[in-house]
Symmetry: C2
Subunit: 191 residues, 2 copies
Amino acid sequence: MTVQQSGRRERKKAATRQKIADTALRLFLERGYDEVGIRDVAAEADVAVTTLFSHFASKEALVFEQDQDFEQRLAQAVTGRAPDEPLIPALRREIHALVRHCTAEGAAPIWRMIDGSTALREYEESMRLRHAESLAAAIAADPRLSRTALACRTIARFAIDAYPLARESDEPEAAVDEVFRMVEAAWDAAA
Amino acid sequence: MTVQQSGRRERKKAATRQKIADTALRLFLERGYDEVGIRDVAAEADVAVTTLFSHFASKEALVFEQDQDFEQRLAQAVTGRAPDEPLIPALRREIHALVRHCTAEGAAPIWRMIDGSTALREYEESMRLRHAESLAAAIAADPRLSRTALACRTIARFAIDAYPLARESDEPEAAVDEVFRMVEAAWDAAA
DNA sequence: GACCGTAACACTAACCGTTAGCTTTTCCTA
DNA sequence: TAGGAAAAGCTAACGGTTAGTGTTACGGTC
C-alpha cells in the first residue's frame, strides 16, 4: 500500500536530472569540457548550482551518467548467468556488449572529450575500480566457484582491465577476445 | 655540456622542495590530510603558495613524493634484468620489493592516512595507471619477448594490479605470489 | 669584477568546484 | 485541506589552483 505509482514528484525529479545531464553534455560538446563551468551548466538548465549537486556528486559525474547501469550489468552477468555457464565466457559477453556500446556511432565525440580531459580520465579510472570491487563481490558470492577471495578480486580487476584496453585498441572487438584468453588462463591457474 | 651537480642554485631548489615535502607530511600526519590546507603548508614551510605549486603539481603529489622512483624501478626491472631471466619472475621480484617497502615499519601511519582520503586513493590509482603504461612500453621494447602490443599492455596492467591487491591483503607477501601465478598463466597464454 | 639572462621565489587577486546554512516551493498522504 | 517531507532555491563561503606581475639570487660570459 505504501508503494506509490503515480509519483509526480519522482517524475519531476527524474526530469530535472535528465535536463541537467542533457544540458551539460550539450555544452561540453559545444565548447569543451574545461571551458564550461558548473555555473554555466546550472544557468543553462535553469536550476540552482546546489540543485545540480544534489543530483550529481561532481562535475565529472555529469558525463558518466550510466555509471550505475554498468556496475549492475556486470554483477548481473555473473549472478544471472545460466546455471551451467562458466564464469569467464559470461564476463566476456558482457564486456563485449559494453565495448560495443561505447564504440557505437555517435559516441565518438564523447570519448574524444573524455580522452582530452585529465579529470575525466581519472574519474573513469576510479569508476572502474568501484566496478571491479562490486564485480569481485558478486564472483566471491557464487557458490559454484571455489576460489580464494584474493583470486576473485584479482580476476575481477583483470576482467575490468579488458575494457579500457579494448577501447584504446584499433580493433576493440578482437582486443576483448585477445585479452580474455589471458584472463581465462589466469582464472584456470587460480583453481 | 657537463651536468653541474655542485650548483648552489640546484641545491637550494632541492632543499626548498624537500622542506616543503617534509613539512607537508609532518602536518598531514599531525592533524590529518583534510584538516591541513595548502596555505598552512606553505606558511609552515615559509614559502609562497605559488612556490609550493612550482615544486608539486597538486596537494596529493606532496604525499607521493617517490612517484617517479617507482616508475623508473619498474621499467628498470624489465630492461635491466639478467639476459636469461624471464619477464615474469623479474617483475614479481620488483613488486615484492615495492610491497615490502610499503608495509615496512613506520609506513603504516602514512598508508592509514592515504586509505582515509578519497582524493589520495584516487591519485594513487591514476599514478599506477601511468606506471602501467611506462611498464608496458618497456615490455614492448624488449626484443626477447615476442608478444603483441596489446598483450604487453595487458600484462603490464595485470602486474601492476598485483600491488594494490597485495597491499590490501592480510598477508601481502603471499598475496603477491598468488596473484603472480595468475599473471604468469596469462602471459603464457599470450604466446 | 661588472653584466646580463634566467631560474626561483613572492605577492595579489582571482577562478572554479564544492558545501553549509537556511528559506521557499511542490506535492504526497492522511 | 492541512501537515509534513522532499525537492529546489539563494547566499556566502571554503579550499585547491592559476594568471599576472614583479623581485631576488645565481651562473656563465666578457
